[in-house]
């Protein structure tokens, strides 16, 4: 199915990646272009609604299998394990405080749903299939990383005790908009199946890739502005973390995929999930649970460095990795 270079090249000239590049360009020339935040928020909801629903419908078609449970379990373990590794790496290589290191590590243990969505498109373009349950895996991988990172941060005395806010934080971690929309739409897709999908396909299937382009334009704008203001503040070891951590996650995710025996398409997605870093759900949860951590570090890193890296280079590599290993 073609080598890595071919996938990479095809990826780089997709409208998706090019609109992201347009956003980056606009931010670099300091254009006033912007997408209203109400629209950005709704597009994010839409993407999760669509991907969740389609995943549920797929699963209704294929049924519950042992692989499903294995990969859900693997997802949870990866999300809990990667922050520990990332935290260790950061503490050893960079001068980040315990709290900042834990905060950054949380982002890389959790996932970026947009990176995931972009990967589903690239997987399909590469002629592969993926299983519907991979969307459930994405939902499962959102939260454990946050819990683990909070434990890492609080083990020291860098952070003061957070009394009486447990309920808010718990909600923010387990019932945040992103987890709930993915899971909810997944369940609805599962319940209504193909007939349900047919009634709303012209909304959630057909325009999906176009909406993704507009969303990525906005991400390019935001990532570019974040980079412009934040890049100078990152030390070299931290910056490098934004590049090697996704690859580290990818390798570990690839190992898990091999263990379970996932087919290539789904393996590529599990690898992508492991390699991707959150920039919506985790930052919001951490501002509440770990306000001492510096937002500009984790946001610049996950949105400004790792996201573009994954979108342009990472995804083709992960697909190639999945094809080679499975």
């Amino acid at each position: 199915m073609g080598g890595m270079l071919e996938i990479a090249q095809q990826n780089l000239v997709s409208p998706m990646v090019l609109f992201f590049a347009l956003g980056l360009f606009a931010s670099f020339v300091k254009s006033d272009m912007s997408v209203p935040s109400a629209i950005a928020k709704t597009m994010a909801l839409y993407l999760m609604m669509a991907i969740g629903f389609k995943g549920g419908v797929e699963l209704a078609g294929s049924g519950l299998t042992m692989t499903l449970f294995a990969v859900l379990f693997a997802g949870a373990v990866l999300s809990a394990l990667l922050p520990v590794i990332g935290f260790g790496l950061l503490r050893v290589t960079s001068g980040l405080s315990r709290v900042d290191a834990a905060a950054v590590a949380a982002h890389y243990g959790s996932i970026s749903i947009v990176t995931f969505v972009a990967a589903t498109q690239a997987v399909t373009s590469a002629g592969l299939d993926y299983d519907g349950y991979m969307i459930a895996v994405a939902a499962v991988m959102e939260s454990p990383a946050i819990v683990v990172a909070l434990l890492l941060a609080k083990r020291g005395n860098g952070a003061s005790a957070d009394t009486g806010q447990g309920a808010h934080i718990g909600r923010e971690i387990f019932f945040n908009s992103s987890v709930l929309m993915l899971t909810g739409a997944f369940v609805i897709g599962y319940v209504t199946g193909k007939p349900g999908l047919e009634t709303i396909a012209p909304f959630i299937v057909d325009p999906f890739r176009g909406v993704l382009c507009l969303f990525l334009l906005d991400m390019g704008l935001i990532a570019g502005r974040g980079l412009r203001s934040g890049l100078g503040k990152l030390s070299m070891p931290v910056l490098l973390y934004g590049l090697y951590m996704p690859l580290t996650g990818a390798v570990i995710g690839a190992g898990a995929a091999m263990l379970i025996g996932l087919p290539a398409g789904s393996a590529a997605l599990l690898i992508t999930l492991s390699a991707s870093a959150s920039y919506i759900a985790v930052p919001a949860a951490l501002r509440l649970a770990l306000p001492e951590a510096t937002p500009s570090i984790y946001l610049t890193l996950s949105l400004g460095v790792t996201f573009p890296f994954n979108l342009a280079i990472g995804i083709p590599v992960y697909i190639w990795l999945a094809e080679v290993l499975t």
Binding site: V35, A40, L221, S229, Y279, R287, L288, P295
Partner: protein
Amino acid sequence: MTLTTHSKKRIEVMIEEPALVRITELLDRFDATGYTVLPALAGRGMSGSWRRNDAFGDAGRIVSVVCITDPSKVDGVLEAIREVVERHIGIVSVCDVEVIRSEHF
């Protein structure tokens, strides 16, 4: 003014949106009769500058909480707010105002 007015304090808290709920719960706890939250578009402070359209989710956005309350309650409320803004991004100011219907405050 010939119209009877009553002296109150107007507390204005600029706080990052994820921590908003901490301020409002605190105002509830102190029996501040009411408050209003205004959105902000952009800003700059010691922790850098931000724009609403350049942030995903709520993290990084500031909202302004306005609470008009009786001078007698201000000290307690401010002390509690200080605790929140010491951990979160936010600033607090108070000014004197006159109100016309004192039963509301």
